[in-house]
C-alpha cells in the first residue's frame, strides 16, 4: 500500500488527487460503495458493533433501574467513567467541525476529501457524549425537568453560575450546528444519489432528503452562502464547546482541576484526539471503500502533521500544569501533580497518558512515518487511548486524593462502567457503519469542484500543500 511514495522523489509534493478523472469517473467511484451491496466484512463489523450497542442498552437500563450506585463512583470520587467518556467523546467530535469549518475558511483544499467523513464522526461522537450528562445524574428525570423550560410553578430557575448549566447550552448548540452543517454539505450528494439510484423507493427516500435540489446556478449560489455562513458559525463553536467543558473542572477549587490553562489545552487535546479518531477510521475505510485516489497520502501526511502540532500543544499544557503546581507553592497542588499522579494508586494511567500523548506523536517528525499507513493507524489508536487516560487522570486521580486525607478513597469501576464505555464505542461504530453504507463517505461534488480547480490551476497542488 505504501509502495507508490517510495518511488517518488521526496521533494515532489504529494498529489491531492491520484490519477486523471472526469466527473463521471468520480461519481461512479465515490457512489459505488453506496450501491454495492453490503459485503461480508461490513456485516461482520456491524454485528460486533450491534452487540456492543446492546451492551450499552443493558448498562443504561440497569443504571436507571438501580441508580448510580451500580457504577463505581463514591465520595470523594463523585465523577468517574460517565464524565470521562463524556469529555472524551466531545473531544473526538472536534475534528469534524475543525476540518469542515476552519480549514474551509483557510481555504485548505485538502479538506474536501475528508470533511464529510469527519463531520459524520463529529455528529456520532457528540451523540455518544450526549448520553452521559443526563445519565450520570442521580435523578435524570428531574435533571431533564429542571433544566429544560418547564411549567415553573416554583419560581426557581436553573443556576447560571454553574458550568454544568453552560454545558447544556454549549453542547446542544454544537450538536445542532454540526448536524446542519453536515446535512447541508450532504444535500447535493443526496441529489446525486437520487438521480443515480435505480429503484423508485430509493429515489423517493433520497429525493425527500435532497429537498428538491436541482443544482441550478441559484441553488449553488445560495448553497455556497449558507455553507460559508455555517462554517463561520461553527468556527467559534469549535473553540467554545471544549472551553466550556473544561470549565466544568477549571471553576472548581480542587487541586488538579482549578487551573487557568484548561481551556486552551482542552481544545488542543480535543483536536488531537479528534484527528486521531478520524485516522483510526479513515485508514481502513480508505482501504476497503477504494477511496485511495481521493484520500491520498497527502491527506494522511497533513493530518499526521496536525497530530504532531496538537500533540505538542497538549504536552505544553502538561508541562505548564506541573510548573504552576510547583511555582505556586500550593502544597495541595504540588502533591497532586508530583506525588499523587506520579506515585499514587492511579500512577500507571498517568504514565500511559504521558507516553501516548507526548512521546508517540514525536514519530511524526519523520515523513516516512507520516505516510506509513500501519504506523499512522497504530499511532492514532495509541493517541485515542492516551486522551482517554488524560481524562481519567484529570477526573479520578484528582478526586480520589484531595484536601483532607481522612476521606481519601480508592476507585474501581464496575462492569456497568466498562459496559457503558464499550457500549458507546458500539453506538459510534454502528452509526458510522450505517453512514458508510447509505451516504457517500466523501463529498462528491466538492471533489468534482476540486478536480476542475486542479485542472485549470497547475499551481493548485502546491497551493494545497502550503500552510
Amino acid at each position: 500500500m505504501a509502495a507508490p511514495n517510495l518511488s517518488r522523489d521526496p521533494l515532489e509534493p504529494l498529489p491531492l488527487l491520484e490519477g486523471k478523472h472526469t466527473d463521471k469517473t468520480i461519481n461512479d467511484s465515490l457512489l459505488e460503495h453506496v450501491w454495492r451491496g453490503a459485503g461480508k466484512g461490513w456485516w461482520a463489523l456491524f454485528a460486533c458493533a450491534l452487540s456492543a450497542l446492546s451492551l450499552l442498552g443493558i448498562a443504561i437500563v440497569w443504571t436507571l433501574y438501580k441508580g448510580i450506585g451500580v457504577w463505581g463512583n463514591n465520595i470523594p470520587v463523585g465523577w468517574a467513567f460517565g464524565i470521562i467518556n463524556f469529555v472524551w467523546w466531545i473531544g473526538i467530535g472536534h475534528a469534524g467541525t475543525l476540518i469542515s469549518a476552519i480549514l474551509l475558511l483557510f481555504q485548505q483544499k485538502w479538506r474536501t476529501s475528508i470533511n464529510r467523513f469527519a463531520e459524520a464522526m463529529t455528529l456520532f461522537a457528540v451523540i455518544c457524549a450526549l448520553l452521559f450528562p443526563l445519565l450520570h445524574t442521580g435523578r435524570p428525570w428531574f435533571a431533564a425537568y429542571w433544566l429544560m423550560p418547564y411549567p415553573s410553578v416554583q419560581r426557581i430557575w436553573p443556576q447560571f453560575k454553574s458550568p454544568l448549566t453552560w454545558d447544556v447550552f454549549a453542547v446542544s448548540t454544537y450538536f445542532t450546528i454540526s448536524l446542519l452543517f453536515w446535512y447541508l454539505g450532504l444535500v447535493p450528494d443526496l441529489a446525486a444519489l437520487r438521480d443515480s439510484s435505480k429503484s423508485k423507493t430509493k429515489r423517493m427516500i433520497y429525493g425527500l432528503f435532497a429537498m428538491g435540489w436541482r443544482g441550478s446556478g441559484r441553488h449553488w449560489a445560495e448553497y455556497k452562502w449558507a455553507y460559508l455562513l455555517l462554517a463561520g458559525l461553527s468556527t467559534p463553536l469549535v473553540l467554545s464547546v471544549h472551553t466550556i467543558v473544561s470549565f466544568d473542572f477549571a471553576v472548581s477549587v480542587l487541586p488538579g482541576w482549578h487551573t487557568t490553562i484548561f481551556p486552551p489545552y482542552f481544545v488542543a487535546g480535543a483536536v488531537f484526539s479528534g484527528f486521531a479518531m478520524v485516522l483510526t477510521w479513515m485508514l481502513p475505510a480508505r482501504e476497503f471503500l477504494g477511496l485511495k485516489h481521493v484520500v491520498t497520502l497527502k491527506h494522511l501526511d497533513n493530518m499526521a502533521k496536525i497530530l504532531l502540532v496538537t500533540g505538542m500543544m497538549v504536552t505544553y499544557g502538561y508541562v505548564m500544569e506541573h510548573f504552576v503546581a510547583w511555582y505556586s507553592g500550593n502544597p495541595y497542588e504540588y502533591s497532586e501533580f508530583f506525588r499523587v499522579r506520579q506515585h499514587g494508586p492511579m500512577a500507571p494511567i498517568y504514565w500511559l497518558m504521558m507516553f501516548c500523548n507526548c512521546i508517540v506523536p514525536q514519530i511524526f517528525w519523520s515523513r516516512r512515518a507520516r505516510t506509513n499507513i500501519l504506523v499512522l493507524w497504530f499511532a492514532s489508536i495509541l493517541i485515542n487511548v492516551g486522551m482517554w487516560c488524560e481524562r481519567f487522570t484529570i477526573v479520578i486521580t484528582s478526586l480520589h486524593r484531595d484536601f483532607i486525607p481522612s476521606k481519601w478513597e480508592n476507585y474501581s469501576p464496575t462492569w456497568v462502567d466498562v459496559s457503558l464505555f464499550i457500549g458507546t464505542i458500539g453506538l459510534f461504530s454502528t452509526l458510522f457503519l450505517l453512514f458508510l453504507k447509505f451516504v457517500p463517505a466523501v463529498a462528491v461534488t466538492e471533489i468534482k469542484e476540486l478536480r476542475h480547480e486542479l485542472d485549470h490551476d497547475p499551481t493548485a497542488e502546491t497551493a494545497g500543500v502550503t500552510h
Binding site: S152, R155, M211
Partner: protein, 216 residues
C-alpha cells in the same frame, strides 16, 4: 423519467416545516398554561366526605369559630381534625337522634376513627406550620377561601410554591389583626397594602424565603 415530486409537494413541505416549528414553541407553552389551570391544580372541585358535614351550617348559622374544632391550629403545625369526642360535645344533646350523625356515634361507641378525605396537602418535603401563620395574623381565608360558603370543602388556592412565595415576599395583603384570623368577613379599612404594613409591624411579621424555611 417522470419527476418524483410536483409543485404541490412544496406547500406540503412548507406546512410540515411550520408544524414542527409551531410544536416546538406550542407544546411547552401549552403545558405551562395548563399547569396553572384550576383543573390541573384540582381546584373548584368539592370533595365528597364520608359524612355530610356542612361548614356553611356550622360557621355561618351556628357562628362556631374555626378554632373550636380545628383547635390546634394556633399551637401546632397541623390545624387538627377534631376528634369524634369533640363532635359529641354538642351532638350528644343536639340532633343526637339524627341518622346523619350515625357514623359519628358509631365511631365513638366502637372507638373507631372517622375517616375524612384530604382536601389540602403539601408534599412531604414541605413543612408548613399553621401555628406561626395564624399567630402572625394570616387569616384562614387566605389559603382556604370562603369555607363558610362551601357545602363540601373544595381546594380554593393553587398551593404551588409560587403561591407561597408571593405571600412570603409581600405578606401585607394577607395580614389582619390576630383576633380576626378566623373572621370570614373581615375587611381592612382603606388600602389593604397600607394597613397590611401597619399590621406587619403590629404582629411583628418577618416572612422568610430561605429554602429551609419550608424544606428540611
Amino acid at each position: 423519467m417522470s419527476p418524483l415530486f410536483r409543485p404541490k409537494h412544496n406547500t406540503l413541505a412548507q406546512i410540515s416545516l411550520f408544524v414542527v416549528a409551531a410544536g416546538a414553541v406550542g407544546v411547552p407553552g401549552g403545558l405551562m398554561l395548563y399547569a396553572r389551570t384550576p383543573y390541573a391544580r384540582g381546584m373548584q372541585d368539592p370533595i365528597e366526605q364520608p359524612l355530610q358535614f356542612d361548614h356553611r351550617h356550622h360557621t355561618r348559622d351556628e357562628g362556631i369559630d374555626c378554632r373550636y374544632c380545628h383547635n390546634t391550629v394556633d399551637k401546632s403545625p397541623s390545624a387538627g381534625i377534631p376528634p369524634t369526642q369533640l363532635c359529641l360535645n354538642c351532638h350528644s344533646q343536639v340532633w343526637n337522634k339524627s341518622p346523619l350523625l350515625e357514623p359519628v356515634r358509631q365511631s365513638f361507641i366502637q372507638n373507631k376513627p372517622l375517616e375524612w378525605r384530604r382536601v389540602y396537602k403539601v408534599p412531604e418535603f414541605v413543612y408548613f406550620n399553621h401555628a406561626i401563620h395564624v399567630n402572625k395574623g394570616v387569616g384562614c381565608i387566605s389559603c382556604h377561601g370562603r369555607v363558610d360558603k362551601m357545602a363540601a370543602v373544595e381546594k380554593d388556592t393553587t398551593m404551588t410554591m409560587g403561591f407561597c412565595l408571593d405571600c412570603h415576599r409581600h405578606p401585607e395583603a394577607n395580614l389582619r389583626p390576630v383576633s380576626e384570623v378566623a373572621n370570614m368577613d373581615w375587611k381592612p379599612e382603606g388600602d389593604p397594602v397600607d394597613s397590611g404594613r401597619l399590621l406587619a409591624a403590629q404582629n411583628d411579621v418577618h416572612t422568610r424565603t430561605s429554602c429551609t424555611t419550608c424544606h428540611r
